[in-house]
């Protein structure tokens, strides 16, 4: 399709006699995929780290970019609305962290499960919510994803369990979803997210214990933005190696 467009443009330019600066190269000349070097992961209780070279196709790249860009613009708009007091209460924004949500969603399926804390607008979008539903929920409208009854922190959709306001409470819930996956005998898993602040919650360690004991299909992901509410990680955590905190659970950073 892109080849056709560039062909048409070139033809137009030639017909008009104008200097065709539009395209000296057609899109068809671009490659369909590229290899990228990524940083080596630190590992804990794992024999080998993930690969340091990844291949991404053009379509994948465009899709990721589009998703991240949409999330960014949605969050910036929400920020603006919050400052205008059109969005009330809490509005925890995800701009800057878009790559996490997109990267996670790229490696799981929509039939897998995901649960996160209150910084949830991004995940609501990647899990299947529309921008319209999310903005309507933030502005308290009936067409919101939770009919205006949930607000910023309580958005739900299929295989997405929110949106949880109490710091750390979503971690046992996520392990429970994983238990249900194993109970039902499906090969689904649950991705369970929390922040660097929540990483110090006791219930998370209770969950590590039970998840490891019962071998639940759960992946715990700590999104470390270096601040738990207003407190920096150095002032809150005796160990900032959050990937090692699971102790008997293998970890990656």
């Amino acid at each position: 399709m892109l080849t056709n467009i560039s062909g048409v443009l070139r033809a137009c330019a030639q017909r008009n006699g104008a200097a065709a600066v539009v395209s000296a190269r057609t899109y068809a000349d671009f490659t369909t995929q590229a290899t990228f070097e990524i940083k080596k992961c630190d590992v804990h209780k794992l024999d080998e780290a993930p690969a340091t070279q990844v291949v991404m196709t053009r379509d994948e790249g465009l899709q990721y970019y589009r998703t991240m860009q949409t999330m960014r613009r949605m969050e910036l708009k929400a920020d603006q609305l919050y400052k205008q007091k059109i969005i009330r209460g809490f509005c925890h924004l995800y701009d800057g962290q878009e790559a996490c949500a997109v990267g996670i969603e790229a490696s799981i399926k929509l039939t897998d499960h995901l649960i996160t804390a209150y910084r949830a607008h991004g995940y609501t979008f990647t899990r299947g919510g529309t921008v319209k539903e999310i903005m309507a929920e933030l502005t308290g409208r009936r067409s919101g994803i939770a009919k205006g009854k949930g607000g910023s922190m309580h958005m739900y959709c299929k295989n997405f369990y929110g949106g949880n306001g109490i710091v750390g409470a979503q971690v046992p819930l996520g392990a429970g979803v994983a238990l249900a996956c194993r109970y039902k005998g499906t090969d689904e898993l649950c991705v369970c997210l929390y922040g660097d602040g929540a990483a110090n919650q006791g219930q998370i360690f209770e969950t590590y214990n039970m998840a490891a004991l019962w071998k639940l299909p759960v992946i715990f992901i700590c999104e470390n933005n270096r601040y738990g509410m207003g407190t920096s990680v150095e002032r809150a955590a005796a160990s900032t190696d959050y990937f090692k905190r699971g102790e008997f659970i293998p970890g990656l950073r």
Partner: protein, 360 residues
């Protein structure tokens, strides 16, 4: 022998025919004496059998047969997948149970006593109770939290609190408090079948007490509806409203008072939330006097709520004297036996309150 007798009686009409042919007994199957513990066990057994998604988790529920033996035999019958022993991590395993409920299973989460539920109360309220509303109906949480509630015998302050008022305060929860074996079995089955989070408050002192269970209540489909109180003893002079163990105390008090010519109507609430106000109101409109009896502390308690609701409704105009609340004493539970006994409602306290309300 008891088991075989129960099997015999369960087969209903056929059993009668068989019995008649053998010429042993000509009377129909009698009501059975079943302890509250066995009734709860039957309820869970039947619901585990009926629905694959139901499972039980908690401390000591599997290999130990239950801290109070309520889940005796279930692990042997259903195995590790459906009867799960947890570590001592209430907040963790309550959250796990709720997550499993969100993902489509129907867990029964046992707290060894409701005192330990305080460790997990955030999960019960914020993750279970509020979710259906917050998600505008997208995310139901069909879970039952059960365990012994209130005073036991000599377990002192940290192990004797009644949580009826605490949980009943919260919208999004159903709170149920059975008294006898029929209540226990029927209400637990209803709770497990209910798609809402249900807090099921048992009583440790009642576990070993046998009650008569009608033939109807021995059926696998027997349920008691949540939200409906039961008039255990009809009367005309005064209404006594209670829940759990103190229903028995009210009936004992009523028996004593009957000899003095005072006819008490005793209501067994069965459900604390939603409260069956209509039942209490129609009783008060008949008897004109009301005494509430509960084991919990007086301030902001079940009795306080009943007083407020009666005052707000039409039954207020029928009261001939103020409502009296008989409650546990407003102190942490002491250890010494004599102090413990006097910290909880006794039959004599109920009799005293009735006479004071009736001005006799």
């Amino acid at each position: 022998m008891a088991t075989s007798l129960r099997c015999f009686l369960r087969s209903g009409k056929q059993a009668v025919l068989v019995v008649a042919r053998r010429g042993i007994h000509r009377s129909p199957p009698a009501a059975l004496q079943v302890t509250v513990r066995d009734a709860l066990n039957q309820a869970m057994d039947e619901e585990l059998e009926r629905d694959e998604r139901v499972f039980l988790l908690g401390e000591e529920v599997a290999q130990y047969d239950g801290a109070y033996k309520v889940s005796r035999g279930l692990w042997k019958k259903y195995g590790d997948k459906r009867i799960i022993d947890t570590p001592i991590s209430e907040m963790g395993f309550a959250g796990i149970a709720i997550g499993a409920a969100m993902a489509g299973l129907r867990p029964i989460c046992e707290f060894m006593t409701f005192n330990f539920s305080m460790q997990a109360i955030d999960q019960v309220i914020n993750s279970a109770a509020k979710t259906y509303y917050m998600s505008a109906g997208l995310q139901p949480v069909p879970i039952v939290f059960r365990g012994p509630n209130g005073a036991s015998a000599g377990v002192a302050a940290q192990h004797s609190q009644c949580f009826a008022a605490w949980y009943a305060h919260c919208p999004g929860l159903k709170v149920v408090s059975p008294w006898n074996s029929e209540d226990a079995k029927g209400l637990l089955k209803s709770a497990i079948r209910d798609d809402n989070p249900v807090v099921f408050l048992e009583n440790e002192l009642l576990y070993g007490v046998p009650f008569e269970m009608s033939e109807e209540s021995q059926s696998k489909d027997f349920t008691v509806p949540i939200g409906k109180a039961k008039i255990e003893r009809p009367g005309t002079h005064i209404t006594l409203v209670s829940h759990s163990r103190y229903v028995g105390h009210c009936l004992d008090a009523a028996a004593v008072l009957a000899k003095e010519g005072i006819d008490c109507e005793v209501i067994n609430l069965r459900t604390i939330r939603p409260l069956d106000v209509e039942c209490i109101e129609s009783s008060v409109m008949k008897t004109n006097h009301l005494v509430t009896v509960e084991g919990g502390w007086p301030q902001f308690g079940v009795g306080a709520e009943i007083c407020a609701r009666i005052m707000e409704g039409s039954a207020f105009n029928y009261l001939d004297s103020p409502v009296t609340r008989v409650t546990g004493v407003d102190i942490p539970m002491p250890y010494a036996k004599i102090l413990e006994e006097h910290s909880l409602p006794q039959v004599k306290d109920i009799i005293f309150s009735v006479k004071k309300t009736l001005n006799v």
